[in-house]
Symmetry: C2
Subunit: 354 residues, 2 copies
C-alpha cells in the first residue's frame, strides 16, 4: 500500500543478516519506490554504510545513519546477545521503536537474539504473556497466516487462545480479510483427539473468543489446502511443520530439475513450458512472503529471513509498513480486550448455579 | 524379497479400509506374485469374499477365510471399537498374530481402533511402554524412517530414546542399512534449544544408547534433505509434520498441473517432458511407501492407508513380509536390552564419586 505523505520512519538493523548491509540497503531502496512515504534510520557502521549510500542517492536522501560498530553475530546465543549487545545495531534499532523515533523495526539478523531483545525492550502488550512469530504460507486458495513459528517451545491453552486472537488481527491487517477463519492444528479433527492443552484451547477459544470465526481443529494437510486463514499452533510444532514443508518443496524442485535435465526431449519440453514453470516458481517463491512478525509486543518488529536478497528484504519492509498502516497493535489490544471480557463473563457464568 | 518355501501366513483384515474388500483382495493377489511363499487368512464376511475369490483362483488357493460379519467402521472411536468390536475382522486378525496362527496382520481400517486393539491384544514388547507408528519418507538421498507418526500425543525423554532404538532396528530391517544415522527432531540444531523432553532425550540417547549412530538434533528441513536415516519425534509433531509435507506436495502438484494446462505451448511442453514428469510422479508416489508399522508391539501389525488401492495395499503387505523376514521384534528386543543395560551402567556410573 502507499503511505502517501505520512513519512513513516522505519528502523533497519543494517548489519543483520547473511548479506548485510548490501541487501538491506538495496532492499530499502526498492521499498522506497514501493512506499514513497517511508524513511529510514539505518543502524550500523557509518564507515561501511556511507560509501554504499553514495551509489544510492534516493535512499541516502530518505535515510539517516545511527552509528554503531557493534553487531550481533548470527550464531550468538540470545542470552549472550542480550547481555553484551546493548549498543548493537539490533538493540539500538529496537530501542528506537520503544522511544517512538520509528514506527517499526526490520532485521535479518539472529532470530533468537532479535526475539529476546524485542521482548526485553518492547515488552508484551497488556494481556499477552507470550509473543508469537507469525508468517504467511501459500495455500490452494491463496495464503494463510501461521503462528507461532518458534517464539516459544511450549504453549498452554491460554497462549494458544491469544495466538488465535493475534492471528485474527494479523490476517485482517495483512490479508485484508473481514472475517478470517481460524483453525487449531491437531492430529485429528475430532474434539476428543490430541494433546490436553490443544483440547483445552479449543474450548477456551469457543467460550472466551466468541467474536472469532473459529473453524475448530485442522490437520497438517489442511494448511496448504487453505481450509482456514489462520493456523494456530505452538512454536515447536509450527516451526517443525514450516521447515518440513519447505524441505518437501525443495525435494520436489530438485526432483523436477533432475528429471527435466535427464534427456534432450524433457529439456525441450521444459523449455516450451518455461512460462508455466515460471508461474509455479513465482507462486512458491518464499521471498515474496518474507517478513515474519513478532506479534504481541508493544511495538512492531519484523524478522526477515537471514539469507534474504534485496527483493526479499524489501518485502519484509512492506510487511512492516502494512502493519503500521493497519495499526496492528491497537487491533490486537481491542481483540484481546474483547476476549478478555468474554473470559471474565464465562468465568462468572460458570460460578452461577445452573 | 522372496520368502522361498517358508509359507508365511499373513492375516488380512479383509473388511478394513475405504476400498475393502476389493482392493484388499486384489492387493493380496499382487503380493502373492511378489512373495510366492506367503499365504493369507482373510478375516471377513465369507458371503462377500467368496464370490470375489472366484475370479482370483491363485489367491483363493493360497487363502482361507475366517468368517465374521462384524466390521469396525472408519469413524468408530477407538474406545468403542475395543469394547464392541471383539469379534470384528480387525480384532480376530490381530488375535491370530497373538495366537501364532499368522506372522503379521495388515489392515487398512480405522487407525485409532487398530492401534488400541493391537496394544490390548498383542501388548508391548518387554522394556517398551509406548508403541510408535513408523513409516518411510522420501528424501534427496533416498528414504528415511520417521517415528512416531501419531501413536502417542505426548512422549517423554525415555519414550523418545526407545523410538530411536526401534527406528534403528526398523531402518536396518526395511532399508537394509548397517548403521542408520539417527536424528532427533527439534527447532534448532544447538544442544541448548528446544523442549525439555527433547533435550533430555538427547542426553539419554547419547548416554544410554551408545550403540546407535546418533547424529543429534535435526530441524524440519533436514527430513527431506536426507540428513539422517531415522527421524525421531513425538507422535503429535510427527503426525503434523508428515501431513503438512503431504499437503505441500499436493499444493505443488496442483500448481504444476494448472500451469501446464494454462496454454497450448505449456501443454505441448508437458507432453514432451511427460517421461521426466512420470519419474517425478513415481518418486512422490505415496502408494509405494504405504504400510506403517506399529513398532514396539509383541507382534507385527502393519497399517495400510485407508484409501489404498490394490498396488498400495500390496506394498503394505510387502512391509509386513520384510519385517517378518528380518525378525524385527527380536532385533528390537536385542537393541532395547543393549540400551537397557547401558541405562543401568550409566545410572551406576552416575552414582559413583567422580
Amino acid at each position: 500500500m502507499s503511505t502517501g505523505k505520512l513519512q513513516l520512519p522505519i528502523a533497519l538493523d543494517a548489519m543483520g543478516g547473511d548479506n548485510a548491509p548490501a541487501c538491506v540497503l538495496r532492499g530499502a531502496a526498492m521499498a522506497l519506490v514501493r512506499h514513497p512515504g517511508i524513511k529510514f534510520i539505518l543502524y550500523g557502521n557509518r564507515y561501511i554504510l556511507e560509501p554504499l549510500l553514495i551509489e544510492m542517492p534516493t535512499l541516502k536522501a530518505a535515510s539517516e545513519i545511527a552509528h554503531t560498530e557493534i553487531v550481533i553475530a548470527g550464531d550468538d546465543k540470545p542470552s549472550v546477545a542480550v547481555r553484551r549487545g546493548r549498543n548493537s545495531s539490533m538493540w539500538m534499532s529496537i530501542e528506537s521503536v520503544r522511544d517512538a523515533h520509528t514506527c517499526a523495526i526490520v532485521s535479518a539478523g539472529n532470530t533468537g537474539a532479535l526475539m529476546a531483545m524485542s521482548k526485553l525492550i518492547l515488552r508484551t502488550l497488556p494481556g499477552i504473556s507470550r509473543p508469537a512469530i507469525a508468517a504467511l504460507f501459500p495455500t490452494l486458495r491463496g495464503e494463510c497466516v501461521m503462528l507461532d513459528l518458534g517464539a516459544n517451545v511450549e504453549s498452554d491453552a491460554k497462549d494458544l487462545c491469544r495466538f488465535a486472537v493475534m492471528g485474527d488481527a494479523f490476517a485482517r491487517a495483512v490479508l485484508g480479510l473481514s472475517r478470517p477463519k481460524i483453525g487449531l492444528l491437531n492430529v485429528g479433527s475430532e474434539e476428543l483427539k490430541g494433546r490436553d492443552e490443544v483440547k483445552e484451547a479449543y474450548q477456551l477459544i469457543k467460550t472466551s473468543a466468541q467474536h472469532l470465526n473459529f473453524h475448530g481443529f485442522i490437520e497438517g494437510n489442511d494448511i496448504a489446502e487453505g481450509t482456514v486463514d489462520v493456523v494456530v499452533t505452538d512454536g515447536f510444532t509450527g516451526n517443525v511443520a514450516l521447515k518440513t514443508a519447505e524441505g518437501a518443496a525443495r525435494l520436489i524442485r530438485t526432483y523436477l530439475k533432475d528429471a527435466f535435465m535427464s534427456s534432450v526431449l524433457s529439456k525441450s519440453g521444459a523449455l516450451m513450458a518455461s512460462g508455466a514453470l515460471k508461474v509455479v516458481k513465482d507462486k512458491l517463491d518464499d521471498r515474496k512472503r518474507n517478513g515474519a512478525m513478532f506479534l504481541g509486543l508493544n511495538g512492531i518488529a519484523v524478522k526477515s529471513h537471514g539469507g534474504a536478497d534485496a527483493f526479499s528484504f524489501c518485502n519484509a519492509i512492506s510487511v512492516a509498513v502494512e502493519l503500521v498502516a493497519h495499526d496492528i497493535n491497537t487491533r490486537i489490544m481491542q481483540e484481546v480486550k474483547l476476549s478478555g471480557d468474554e473470559v471474565k463473563t464465562a468465568e462468572v457464568k460458570t460460578g452461577e448455579p445452573s
